[in-house]
């Protein structure tokens, strides 16, 4: 196996999966139709993967002939799946990009509830990071700059500097306030 020439290719990511702490799929993108032809195989693989990884605090595992790098935070699990011959560090950099982008999108509040609330932006971010198995962008801040436009309901051009910084101030300083109060303050 190892001596066979490994075809150089840009297609390095076989899958990106985000699960909750019960092992349920929140988002799953599989890019290799041969390795994971249908949802049935995918779910079986995820179940196996989750049972092997949800307790161990390691960040890499070899499973069913795939290398999986993973990372968990509060009640979320992030996985990147690649082939057994793949450079582990490349997969790791993809995982870091996914994690860092999600973290920036959710404003450090990486947990299931926040992810669900921002699912649209997270889906867009993953689409920006990986295109059919090719790593499209490995820089989280550039990914986020292209997707996380949500913060501004008014187009940025129509906002004053004071408005923008006031919003940010409110968000960072008062994030513990009841959200109803927050929205009233900001919209007025």
């Amino acid at each position: 196996m190892d001596c066979a020439p490994f075809e150089p290719s840009l297609y390095i990511v076989k899958g990106i999966v985000i699960m909750d702490n019960d092992g349920n799929r929140l988002l799953a993108n599989y890019y290799d139709k041969k390795a994971f032809p249908s949802t049935k195989e995918q779910k079986a693989f995820e179940k196996n993967l989750f049972s092997k990884t949800h307790r161990a605090a390691a960040e890499i595992i070899m499973l069913d002939g795939f290398i999986c790098v993973y990372r968990s935070h509060v009640d979320l699990f992030f996985y990147i799946i690649g082939s057994a011959q793949e450079n582990e560090l490349l997969l790791m950099s993809a995982l870091n990009t996914v994690y860092d982008s999600v973290q920036q999108i959710l404003r450090k509040n990486v947990e299931k509830r926040a992810l669900i609330d921002n699912l649209d932006v997270v889906i867009l971010a993953i689409d920006e990071i990986c295109d059919r198995g090719i790593l499209l962008d490995a820089d989280a801040s550039s990914v986020v700059s292209r997707v996380a436009l949500r913060a501004d309901d008014i187009p940025i051009g129509e906002q004053t500097v004071a408005q923008v910084s006031f919003r940010n101030y409110i968000f960072w300083k008062c994030s513990s306030l009841p959200s109803a109060f927050l929205s009233r303050r900001v919209t007025c």
Binding site: D2, C3, P5, F6, E7, P8, S9, L10, R25, L27, A28, N29, T39, Q42, K43, A56, A57, A58, E59, I60, I61, M62, V69, N87, E88, L89, L90, M92, S93, R107, I116, D117, N118, L119, D120, I123, L124, D127, D131, R132, I134, L135, L136, D137, A138, D139, S142, R146, V147, L149, R150, A151, D153, R167, F171, S179, L182, S183, V186, T187
Partner: protein, 364 residues
């Protein structure tokens, strides 16, 4: 603001539940009729579109009829100026393109977005467009694709390069003509553009060995900025060495060895792995030849990053199968890994030691 969004959603869902729990395909597709409303309500439609994408993502399959209906409803959303909604529509197009019929109806609007002024739309529009294009349509947009490949915005250039690579599968002949543009993109300062351009160039030329070796020679001279491109180049060089069966003084080999001193760990590891694979596959290797690669891997063994330790020990394990003497120098480091918290690392360390260990280490 996001808090405002949350409130609104909670109201809609009547409580704090997960809005994506217990979604039903039929009712979500029913909701998609709201796409036909004028004026478009961006927030509501984004939410519905997210639900559709979520359902597909969960493994729900849409029939051709359902997908086509949803697709045509979705095209109405192009009237909206909302950026997120627009981006979600691109995504929806990509998801539904393989199932729905007559998807080429959106070709002209995507072409407009791809060449338009709004930079946030352009990369995504290119990728969506290429997902619905076939060989005959491709000729119509060829000019725009060529321009996009050499665009000064990296995201646009990357999107065009990657899409071209996807399209090689069915329109290889057309994509081959874009070699000059790809060549220009290899010189880009952006690491991702360089990586994708090299990938596309290699794919176009891979059946022509002379062209590939020219490409590698050129790239090894220009010192690639991108670690990803460097990794790819190492792999291409490996392939050339194997095909040409050149001797130990091959310039490609020299290049790979020089990569052991690269500043990026990804490249160093790729080079070490390549050397190990190359040398262990040829019969007459001494442990001295493997030396530099093995000592790099030895360093990785004591890294605080589990991935790096895993990578190193996995590669050492491979070497140990054919050349245990070369790995013997790392025995001490490997012994430390036996108690590693990551069980995969520990197991690999043990099996490696079984091949290289001597009696003296049994006690420890």
């Amino acid at each position: 603001m996001s808090s405002f969004r949350k409130d609104k959603k909670d109201e809609e869902e009547g409580g704090s539940g997960n809005p994506f729990n217990n979604l039903e395909k039929a009712s979500v597709l029913q909701e998609a009729r709201a796409f036909n409303d004028t004026p478009v309500n961006p927030r509501k439609c984004t939410q519905i579109l997210t639900k559709i994408l979520y359902l597909i993502n969960q493994g729900e399959t849409l029939g051709a009829r359902e997908a086509t209906d949803a697709f045509f409803a979705m095209t109405k959303l192009f009237q909206s100026k909302d950026v997120i909604l627009r981006r979600m529509v691109y995504l929806g197009i990509k998801e539904l393109a393989p199932i729905a019929e007559d998807v080429i109806i959106v070709t002209s609007i995507l072409t407009k977005d791809m060449t338009g002024k709004e930079d946030l739309y352009r990369p995504a529009a290119i990728r969506a467009l290429c997902a619905i294009t076939d060989t005959t349509m491709l000729q119509a947009i060829e000019r725009y694709m060529r321009q996009a490949i050499v665009d000064k915005i990296p995201a646009v250039s990357c999107a065009a390069l990657v899409s071209s690579l996807h399209m090689c599968q069915y329109s290889g002949e057309i994509v081959k003509r874009w070699v000059n543009e790809a060549q220009e993109a290899v010189n880009s300062d952006n690491i991702m553009v360089q990586y994708h351009a090299l990938g596309l160039l290699y794919h176009i030329r891979k059946s022509d060995r002379l062209a590939v070796s020219k490409l590698v020679t050129k790239c090894t001279r220009m010192v690639l900025k991108s670690p990803y491109a460097a990794c790819l180049l190492i792999r291409i060089a490996c392939r050339l060495i194997k095909e040409e069966e050149t001797g130990p003084d091959s310039p490609y080999l020299e290049f790979i060895e020089s990569c052991l001193r690269h500043k990026s760990e990804i490249v160093i590891y790729e080079a070490a792995q390549a050397l190990v694979n190359l040398k262990t596959s040829t019969s007459s290797t001494s442990s001295r030849e493997l030396g530099p690669a093995v000592s790099v891997l030895q360093l990785f063994c004591s890294s605080p990053k589990p991935t790096l330790r895993f990578a190193a020990v996995r590669t050492l394990n491979k070497v140990a199968m054919t050349n245990p003497a070369a790995v013997a120098a790392c025995n001490l480091d490997l012994e430390n890994l036996i108690t590693d918290v990551n069980r995969s690392i520990a197991t690999l360390a043990i099996t490696t030691l079984l091949k290289t260990g001597a009696e003296s280490s049994v006690d420890r």
